[in-house]
Amino acid sequence: MASDSTQYHAELVSSTIDVSEQTAWLADPGCGAVLVFCGNVRDSNQGQAVTRIEYQAYESMALSQLREVAKSLLDAGATRALAVHRLGMLEVGETSILLGISLPHRKDGFQLLERGMEQIKTTVPIWKHEHYVDGNVAWIEGS
């Protein structure tokens, strides 16, 4: 199915993701449902206290893969789709990924949003470099 490129958007950013601005972009008079997923930096991972996470990307490919995710959500029935990933150093609580869709009815929205997140987690070349309270750091590869 052909996707209208004005109806999806993918972006890599280096500062705070403005959730309300992004969510506003998703709204459409024909859409009764807007769903948004935010991935935030957690204060722990596998028992270790995390202080912050640096996100590194293969930027050109990450952007094109993020676009693929957004486009495939339109192909699957979303009216608009939005995928924004932040790079660089993030503190605990900050949002690293925002994935949002709008669609006429809510019914399929939940599984579409889930499918989009799975696709991001497996196909977008971005990696976490976790910083721990004890001063150690580790690359996370695979999730």
Partner: protein, 81 residues
């Protein structure tokens, strides 16, 4: 031919560089590339088994040929999101 392969995440730390130079035969495939990396940079051998190759911003299959002048990258399992 001599190709450059971009590195990310732990592979950068391991090599201390953001790219590798690899010597390849003509008509080399993705599998040949990975084998050559393991031969020419033996300390990456184990890592290469878990790593995918991207050609010009797209994941490549094992049998794909490496086009000249393409941008190559080693992609360890991703963890973004």
């Amino acid at each position: 031919m001599k190709v450059e392969v971009l590195l990310f995440a732990s592979l950068r730390d391991l090599t201390g560089a953001d790219r590798l130079t690899v010597e390849l035969g003509e008509n080399a495939s993705v599998t040949d590339l990975l084998d050559s990396i393991a031969d020419q940079h033996p300390f990456l051998k184990e890592r290469v088994a878990l790593t995918r190759v991207a050609i010009d911003d797209r994941f490549a299959a094992a049998e794909d040929l490496i086009p000249p002048e393409s941008e190559l990258a080693l992609i360890p399992p991703v963890s973004g999101g």
